[in-house]
């Protein structure tokens, strides 16, 4: 393609800038972390081998690395003992994978019925509910953790209600079920979204054809509908697994001292400055999540089906007068609705209620007053709530300004057919599968501590590092929203514009961009929300500095026993965070975004 001069400059320069940002704030820092684990100046791979050979991390599988020759004998001994399962230890990685698998299953169990309801029934507020399935995804995870504490804690709403009927209290927190339910809170809506959209895309005529050829409704479902839902379900399950595998604040806040995952342990290692072990853990964790992410991407690209000219099936009405209560199907939907309400609304409502409820159950504003008092306090190490709010909003705006152009450029690369663009897309998308802790650690070790570049020592101050880390976490969401819209634009629109005198760049500005405004705004909303809620890397980069954000403040209030056993201040801070997140979403929504990504 012959490009006129302005085009020859604009697109490559943007791409180069994006690559430069990624290399500076992602590939280089993360690469440094990974290198530290691979060759720390001693034996190559020593830290990784050390972890692999440690029963604490790998459980029974550590023998494979510690004493490979002894494995067959060990297995024989174990079998000779009658293969007692109780003797099998899974270690940290085993437990992390185990809880991720349980979480993925729970997400499917909670999300699949939701997809059925949204795809097959019509009821008041269905559209809104469909839009709302995106919300848990952008809720700060530390906020959800606090919400779960407010709901299931010893003084939480759940035990209060049990107390009213003379039961309890039950300790739900700091247990595996608490973590799994919280992960399901996050990932079930993902399952719902994926499967609903697949279900709605099924052409009614396919089912009608099957029926006219003699299939019963159940057979038609099994032969026509199910095979078309399976890819979406599998994709969502894989994603739920990866997200639960890498989950950090949920486990940190709900796992207590007993239950830890790789990510939490990685954070602990960084805190105790055992950076070599941290790096080795980072390598192993990234390898696992990248591998699963690769499977997901391969799988996803293979299942793109274009539905052209299809007619989707009509939905049945959910409420059908007095018959509603006699129809087992509708009753089941009702029961599901109750469970979903408890899981999804419970934590949020509990958070709001706890923030204004004193120990005796009376209304109080003490916790909010406490926040204001903190603001006035000049004591060292105090986290000022208003500063945290201001920081969060400023970082989010900075993230917006960085992540949106980056995301659009990556989308342009992704939709451009040609050699190399697939590879470029993969390289540009890698950040989605690397944990925030690893990015934060890398940034800390490189840019924040200083890097030698051509004889000059480059250091980056805290807030730039935070924005950089947020932008890296956020731009994939811009890309995921923009790419499908971009791919859906008829090439001939751009060609027409060019034959009418527009350069490639002018055509992009006047034709392409106006046509992707809605997904672009949706992507921007994501970027903003991701930044507001980002905890993993911020907690490392904002350490001791003046650049702490709302989620970091929230975690401090949860963890700070000096302000009493009450969750009050944390729930008050959580309510503020919730309000800011919601407000930013409403604002961006008014600007014109819709979340049909």
């Amino acid at each position: 393609m012959a490009w006129p001069s302005s085009d020859r400059v604009v697109f490559p320069v943007g791409l180069l800038a994006t690559l430069l940002v990624l290399v500076t704030v992602f590939y280089y820092p993360v690469g440094r972390v990974l290198l530290a684990a691979i060759n720390p100046g001693g034996t190559p791979l020593a830290p990784i081998v050390e972890i692999l050979a440690d029963p604490f991390y790998l459980g029974v599988a550590h023998h494979v690395f510690a004493d490979p020759m002894g494995v067959p004998a060990g297995v024989l001994t174990w079998l000779a003992d009658g293969a007692p399962l109780s003797a099998v230890e899974f270690g940290l990685f085993g437990f992390t994978a185990y809880q991720a698998a349980l979480s993925a299953l729970a997400s499917v169990a909670l999300g699949l019925p939701g997809a059925y309801v949204l795809a097959r029934f019509d009821f008041w507020g269905r559209q809104t509910l469909t839009s709302l399935t995106i919300v848990p995804f952008v809720l700060p995870s530390i906020l959800v953790a606090v919400g779960f504490q407010a709901m299931f804690g010893r003084t939480g709403l759940f035990n209060d209600l049990l107390g009213v009927v003379g039961l309890g209290p039950i300790e739900v927190l700091y247990s595996l079920p608490a973590i799994v339910i919280a992960h399901a809170f996050y990932n079930a809506p993902l399952v719902t979204r994926f499967v609903t959209s697949a279900w709605e895309g099924i052409d009614a005529r396919e089912i009608e054809s099957a029926r006219s050829m003699g299939a019963t409704p159940i057979r038609a479902f099994r032969d026509v509908v199910l095979p078309q839902l399976r890819p979406a379900l599998l994709s969502a399950t894989l994603l739920a697994f990866v997200f639960s595998f890498m989950s950090f604040p949920i486990v940190l806040a709900l796992g207590g001292l007993e239950l830890q995952t790789v990510e939490v342990w990685l954070y602990a290692k960084v805190q105790s400055l055992d950076l070599e072990a941290a790096a080795a853990l980072a390598v192993l964790e990234s390898a696992i999540s990248l591998a699963i992410m690769y499977i997901y991407l391969r799988y996803e690209s293979g299942q793109i089906v274009s539905h052209t000219g299809g007619r989707s099936r009509s939905r049945r009405s959910l409420v059908a007068g007095w018959r509603t209560l006699s129809d087992p199907r509708r009753l089941a939907v009702l029961a599901y609705g109750c469970v979903a309400a408890v899981v999804f609304l419970g934590p949020i409502l509990s958070l709001l209620i706890e923030s204004v409820t004193g120990p005796e159950g009376a209304f109080t504003t003490a916790y909010y007053e406490f926040l204001l008092a903190r603001q006035a306090s000049t004591a060292v190490g105090t986290i000022a709530p208003l500063t945290a709010i201001r920081n969060s909003v400023l970082f989010a705006l900075g993230t917006l300004a960085t992540a949106v152009p980056m995301g659009v450029i990556v989308s342009l690369v992704a939709t451009r057919s040609g050699r190399g663009s697939r590879l470029a897309e993969t390289l540009l998308s890698a950040p989605i599968a690397v944990s925030g802790i690893v990015v934060g650690l890398g940034l800390l070790q490189t840019l924040v501590f200083g890097v030698e570049v051509l004889g000059h020592r480059l250091t980056v101050t805290g807030w730039i590092a935070v924005v950089a880390a947020h932008a890296v976490a956020a731009y994939p969401f811009v890309t995921r929203n923009v790419t499908p819209a971009l791919a859906g634009i008829d090439d001939r629109l751009v060609e027409t514009a060019r034959s009418l005198g527009a350069t490639r760049f002018r055509a992009l500005l006047t034709v392409t961009l106006p046509l992707i405004v809605a997904p672009l705004v949706a992507g921007a909303a994501f970027a903003f929300a991701i930044s507001i809620g980002e905890f993993d890397s911020t907690v490392l980069l904002a350490e001791g500095g003046a650049s702490h954000t709302m989620p970091v403040a929230l975690e401090r209030y949860v963890g700070n026993r000096s302000i009493g056993p009450s969750l009050g201040p944390a729930t008050a801070m959580g309510t503020v965070l919730l309000a800011v997140t919601a407000a930013s979403f409403v604002v961006i929504d008014r600007v014109g975004g819709r979340y049909d990504g």
């Binding site: 001939r492 060609e495 034959s499 034709v511």
Partner: protein, 347 residues
């Protein structure tokens, strides 16, 4: 439109390939200034690729594209002064009709002394959609959208108008009406126009000259009458209009040829080759005997309104006959004049 300089289009040995797949092979053609030239061929034959190469959307692997004598092979589309209309209209959905038509005027000044507002009004008048100026494309019918697309392509006063199956998405009646209007507008403006269609009847009806494209090559270029009456290749004979095509052998005396065992005396000498392809149009064959008479069997009769199309078999060949009279029974006698047999020349 403005001062009219030389605006003809020339392609010289142009080859285009997509990866390893050749799409055009050594295409050479020359369209005169003000001419209405049609590329016709089956889908996938390369006619659209030819158009896109002229517009600058495809870069030839070899060969030269000239517009008005100027080599534009390496120029990007926006520097070519070429207007294009696509089958799916490709109206900008986020702009009104008026904004669509005015789009090019931010890059190119309107021809003549008109300002852009006047220019847009004038064009909307020309294509008879002036009352739709403030509507959005999605609220227009297909025909209206196509008129707007035409006005938009004409707005900057391009040297060349390229029409890529512009009428194919419309229903038959509207298609015939619009093709008349397109032709009228083209005559009025005197703009060099290249039209792409898979519909050979449309090509015959609308064009000054036709290029028949097959498999990335141009098989024949000529006036509609020329292409219809003297097809240069077997493909052209079969593709343009209805035809009955046979293999034949030139007899030793060079005055007659034989299809199977049927001897046909020829008014003029056939080419001095022993094997040739010949064709006879269905409308040149009648029921009853003639200079050449065949005994055939009727397979199927279609009533077309103004005539019957009779499908027959003769010696294992299928023959179509267009006649005003319905055949009486299964066995018919078919006759035609030797002068109506066209010799194509063996491939």
């Amino acid at each position: 439109m403005g001062e009219s300089t030389e605006t003809g289009v020339e392609l010289e040995d142009v080859s285009v390939s997509f990866g390893d797949v050749p799409a055009l092979s050594d295409v050479t053609l020359s369209v005169a200034e003000g001419e209405f030239f049609t590329l016709v061929g089956p889908s996938g034959c390369g006619k659209t690729t030819t158009l896109r190469t002229i517009a600058g959307f495809e870069t030839p692997a070899s060969g030269t594209v000239r517009i008005g004598g100027r080599d534009v092979t390496g120029l990007p589309p926006e520097q070519r002064d070429v207007g294009i209309v696509f089958q799916n209209y490709a109206l900008f959905p986020h702009m009104t009709v008026r904004e669509n038509v005015a789009y090019s005027l931010q890059y190119r000044s309107a021809p003549g002394d008109t300002d852009s507002e006047e220019r847009v009004a004038e064009l909307l008048e020309l294509v008879e959609v002036a009352d739709l100026a403030d509507r959005r494309p999605e609220s227009l019918s297909g025909g209206q959208q196509q008129r707007v697309a035409l006005a938009r392509a004409l707005a900057p006063g391009p040297d060349v108008l390229l029409l890529d199956e512009p009428l194919s998405a419309l229903d038959a009646r509207l298609r015939e009406q619009l093709r008349l209007e397109v032709r009228e507008i083209q005559r009025e403006l005197g703009i060099t126009t290249i039209y792409v269609t898979h519909d050979q009847a449309e090509a015959l009806a609308i064009s000054d000259r036709i290029g028949v494209v097959n498999d990335g090559r141009i098989e024949q270029i000529g006036t509609p009458e020329d292409v219809y009456r003297n097809p240069a290749t077997r493909f052209v004979a079969a593709f343009v209009g209805e035809n009955n095509v046979f293999d034949a052998r030139v007899d030793g005396d060079n005055q007659s040829l034989t299809i199977d065992n049927e001897r046909i005396d020829l008014p003029q000498s056939p080419p001095t080759r022993s094997d040739v392809t010949v064709c006879v149009r269905p409308e040149d064959i009648h029921l009853g005997s003639g200079e050449v008479t065949l005994s055939a069997t009727v397979v199927h009769v279609e009533f077309l309104g103004d005539a019957y199309r009779v499908h027959c078999t003769w010696n294992g060949h299928s023959i179509r006959v267009r006649t005003q009279r319905e055949p009486d029974g299964e066995d018919v006698t078919l006759g035609f004049d030797a002068a109506d047999v066209t010799v194509i020349g063996a491939e």
